[in-house]
């Protein structure tokens, strides 16, 4: 039984035992009290009734006797005296005297109405009529006989001698009797109540005394139930309860031993699990470190290659060379995309990426999608349509970078897996949310594959793992990014017909509309070159090819560039302060890294530093530092368009 159950049942048991004990003690007392009181009352009332009856009979007999001569002689005065003497007696209400012919000779009250007279049977015998309020007694007035020898009377024995002279009727009030009864009843009830009260108190005390050790035992058992197994019950001194207490103590000891044994087992298992978890974490960290290091190392040559290709494109090339450079650039771009995907996954997996919510007009998102993917779609002969059902601006609250990452992956996937037809990006309000959907008329996904599409490196219809078709990380990135901003991505698809991805973004409240994020016009490349023209740049990069590529690209854009291999070298330069932009690698060969270098510059000149941090490091430690720093960070291989945008911010 659980502790909870014990606790719930405890008060019930408490009341039960006490109630039963009190009931056992009280019932005989109650019955006895009731019986004795009833008997006492009955006998007392009976005694009172009898006493009144006897007294009344005595009074009426006395009156009849005393009235004999008065009635015989018709002496009204004497009769009145006798009646008055009787009326002086307590409780006597009325006296009526009748003659032998049953006529009223005298009545104590002149108001006596013959109709009030009870149904009395006149005659030689006494009679009694008992009413609620009074007692009516009739007594014949029979002459007191004096024994005479009847020798002379044989001859006249037939003469009709009247035996009675009349009768008296006496009304005795029962008011006093009833008052006495009521008084006795009240006193009796009071005494009964007191006795019962006393009995209840005594019974409760006794019950408490009896049940106390049981309840203590119960409490101890409850404590044991809660887990306090070191509890020890002291023996209450009652044989049965002592045995019970000893039994409970033994049980508690056994339970304690068992629990300690189990604890030890659990500790062992936990320690084993902990070790295994640590091993897994170590393995995961090792994997991340390896991935970061590999990414970094791969980025360096690719970054340099990209910069050189970009630079090469700006030189005077014949059409055939332009075509080759174009193909080269595509390959570089694809390769760079693959690396970026790996980097993004690495970043999202690190758990350090925190969503940074801001207001975003869906129209701007559409513009961003259109500017970035329209050329790509057109190249494949596909239509890229943007549709919004609402004329009013649809504003959502989300992390703009993450939603860009989601849209970029979903739209690029749509274009990638669609060979004819088109792609539709729609947005429409749905309650307090905005439903964003990406429709395509592509190859579609079989129903059984839908649940796997978000897995890492899972690619539908790419068993040969064509690198041009991507790594299969896009939807994994989408899922992670969407989870970070609290959005659920759903996919509906029909094989050979097309696919639609839906995501519901929370609509911004009306009072939040003023916080719209300024647009980063990445897609606007017109006049980019002119914005860098004549600006002074400092590039701190220990990787010579990348540094050479950067310097070449900046100089071709009209910039004035100086290059340093380390932060210390750059800081020693006297003209370091006369610079419009600093482009610093994070991981430098000296003691200072890129962030430390920029911080020192800021401290040295006490002015805001315009800079871009570039890195091939995807390690968790770097990402954490990069987030804390105030300057934009670009990952290698560097997309020159992104670099351009960052420099214009």
């Amino acid at each position: 039984m659980s502790g909870q159950t014990l606790r719930e049942q405890q008060p019930m048991k408490n009341i039960g035992i006490k109630q039963q004990a009190v009931t056992i003690a009280l019932i005989p007392i109650l019955l006895m009290a009731l019986f004795l009181e009833s008997y006492g009352l009955y006998t007392r009332f009976d005694d009172l009734d009898k006493a009144v009856m006897e007294r009344s009979k005595s009074l009426v007999r006395q009156l009849a006797a005393s009235c004999e001569y008065a009635v015989f002689s018709g002496n009204a005065d004497l009769l009145k005296q006798n009646i008055n003497a009787t009326l002086d007696q307590p409780d006597v209400n009325r006296v009526i005297v009748y003659d032998a012919a049953e006529n009223v000779v005298m009545a104590s009250s002149s108001k006596f109405d013959i109709r009030e007279q009870p149904p009395i049977k006149f005659g030689l015998s006494s009679s009694l009529h008992d009413t609620k309020k009074s007692l009516w007694l009739y007594e014949p007035i029979v002459p007191i006989e004096i024994k005479l020898d009847e020798l002379f009377h044989d001859v006249s024995s037939k003469s009709n001698v009247s035996k009675t002279l009349g009768g008296v009727l006496l009304e005795v009030s029962k008011n006093r009797l009833n008052d006495n009864k009521a008084h006795i009843l009240i006193i009796t009830l009071l005494i009964t109540f007191c006795v019962l009260l006393l009995s209840v108190i005594v019974a409760f005390r006794l019950a408490h005394k009896i049940t106390k050790p049981i309840l203590e035992l119960n409490n101890v058992i409850f404590d044991i139930g809660k887990g306090k197994l070191d509890t020890h019950i002291s023996t209450p001194g009652v044989i049965e309860l002592d045995q019970l207490a000893n039994g409970v103590n033994s049980m508690a000891q056994l339970l304690l031993l068992d629990r300690n044994f189990l604890h030890a087992r659990i500790e062992e298992a936990t320690e084993s699990l902990r070790n295994k978890t640590k091993q897994a974490e170590d393995a995961s960290q090792a994997k991340s470190r390896f991935l970061a290091a590999a990414s970094h190392d791969l980025r360096q040559p690719i970054a340099a290659s990209s910069l050189f290709v970009d630079t090469l494109e700006l030189t005077d090339l014949n059409p055939h060379q332009h075509k080759i450079v174009g193909r080269l650039k595509e390959s570089m771009s694809s390769f760079s995309g693959l690396l970026n995907s790996l980097l993004d996954i690495s970043k999202l997996d690190s758990g350090t990426r925190k969503p940074n919510f801001a207001m975003l007009d869906i129209h701007r998102l559409h513009v961003w999608v259109e500017s970035n993917f329209q050329p790509l779609a057109e190249n494949k002969g596909l239509r890229l349509n943007i549709y919004s059902s609402c004329r009013k601006p649809l504003v959502v609250k989300t992390d703009i970078d993450l939603i860009h990452m989601v849209m970029m992956n979903l739209v690029s996937n749509a274009i990638k897996f669609t060979s004819r037809g088109g792609i539709l990006i729609s947005a429409r309000p749905r309650g307090s949310e905005v439903l964003l959907q990406i429709w395509d008329t592509g190859i579609g996904i079989a129903e059984e594959n839908i649940e796997h599409i978000y897995d890492e490196f899972y690619q539908v219809g790419n068993p040969q793992r064509d690198r041009m078709a991507g790594l299969g990380l896009g939807l994994a990135i989408v899922k992670r990014s969407a989870e970070l901003i609290g959005v659920k991505v759903t996919c509906q698809s029909r094989l050979g017909r097309g696919t639609v991805f839906s995501l519901c973004l929370p609509a911004a409240a009306s009072d939040e509309l003023g916080q719209l994020h300024p647009e980063i016009a990445i897609g606007n490349r017109t006049g980019a070159k002119s914005s860098l023209h004549g600006k002074r740049f400092v590039v701190v990069e220990d990787d010579i090819p990348i540094a050479a590529g950067l310097v070449s690209w900046l100089e071709l854009n009209g910039g004035e560039v100086r290059h340093f291999l380390s932060a210390e070298e750059a800081l020693c330069d006297l003209a370091i302060g006369h610079t419009d932009f600093y482009i610093a690698d994070y991981m430098l060969s000296g003691t200072l890294n890129g962030i430390q270098f920029l911080n020192q510059l800021r401290q040295k000149f006490a002015v805001p530093i315009r800079a871009v941090l570039i890195t091939g490091d995807t390690s968790t430690a770097f990402i954490k530092n990069a987030i804390e720093c105030e300057w934009p960070v670009l990952h290698k291989p560097i997309d020159t368009s992104l670099l351009h945008a960052a420099l214009e911010m």
Partner: protein, 306 residues
């Protein structure tokens, strides 16, 4: 002493003429009305008196008279007398019977009377004796009150005369019913000096005697009773014959019958007793003379005649 001489005289008068029948034992059946002490006392005294006389009389006490074989039935009390008169042809001597009762019995059983001898010894005292007694005992109280029912068998004319002859005045008052008893009593007491009880159970009975006594006492008038019981109840005095006295007179009559075979005429008791309630006398402030003095005066009055 004169009483004994009178008895001896009477006995000799009866015995001598019937000497021829002396040899035969007289069978007498004694019938009593009931077994009250008075009759028991009579029976004992009667047996004693016969035994003392040495007469040849056998007495059987029986209530079965139908097939009785006897020479004489001695019926004690009215009930026994009525029974004996009605059921047998044997000569009957009724004793301890009031005169009025005996006379009524004779009138009812007239047919049987002619065939056999019947006589009686009365219970009540002759009026003359009573009046003489009153004169001797309370000479100052001459107006004698008498309360009676309407059909009381009293010869009032003769009684008035007897009283008047003895220098008194009879105040007789009839009472119609028990309810009028008090008023009748009041009226008779108002005119009397003494109230003389008569054997009339409508007036004088166990129930009424107390109120009569109380009323007369309230008037200061003494009641003259009929027996010892009256005296005990509160009557001033009474003149009466005891069972012993009557038994003696009856046994003398039986011996006379044994000797003569004849029964004499009904007679009043020869012997009598005077009873006085001294407490009543004191209460009424009456100085009562001794019984001997009264008897003496009564004897004198008797000798003198009315």
């Amino acid at each position: 002493m004169s009483r004994y001489w009178a008895i001896i005289f009477l006995l000799s008068a009866v015995v001598l003429p019937t000497g021829a029948t002396q040899a035969r034992t007289l069978k007498v059946i004694l019938v009593m009305s009931d077994s009250t002490p008075v009759y028991q006392q009579f029976s004992i005294s009667f047996d004693k008196a016969l035994a003392a006389s040495m007469a040849d009389v056998s007495v059987i006490e029986s209530q079965l008279l139908n097939k009785a074989n006897a020479d004489l039935i001695v019926a004690v009390g009215m009930k026994a007398s009525e029974l004996a008169a009605a059921q047998t042809d044997i000569p009957v001597l009724a004793t301890m019977v009031p005169r009025a009762g005996y006379e009524e019995l004779l009138s009812h059983a007239r047919s049987n009377i002619s065939t056999r001898p019947i006589s009686a010894i009365y219970l009540d005292q002759p009026w003359g004796r009573q009046i003489d007694f009153l004169r001797a005992a309370i000479p100052g109280r001459r107006r004698i009150g008498l309360l009676h029912s309407l059909n009381a068998p009293i010869d009032f004319a003769r009684l008035h005369q007897d009283v008047a002859q003895r220098g008194g005045l009879l105040v007789a008052q009839p009472t119609l019913s028990a309810s009028e008893l008090f008023s009748s009593l009041e009226s008779v007491l108002a005119l009397s000096d003494v109230l003389l009880a008569v054997p009339d159970s409508m007036i004088y009975n166990s129930s009424s005697i107390r109120n009569i006594l109380l009323t007369s006492y309230h008037h200061g008038i003494p009641l003259i009773g009929l027996s010892q019981a009256y005296v005990n109840a509160g009557a001033l005095c009474a003149i009466f014959s005891t069972p012993e006295q009557l038994a003696a007179q009856t046994s003398a009559t039986v011996i006379s019958f044994a000797q003569s075979g004849l029964l004499h005429e009904p007679q009043y008791p020869v012997d009598f007793t005077i009873a006085v309630n001294q407490q009543v006398a004191r209460s009424l402030e009456i100085e009562f003379p001794s019984s001997a003095l009264i008897r003496g005066q009564m004897d004198q009055a008797k000798e003198k005649g009315p």
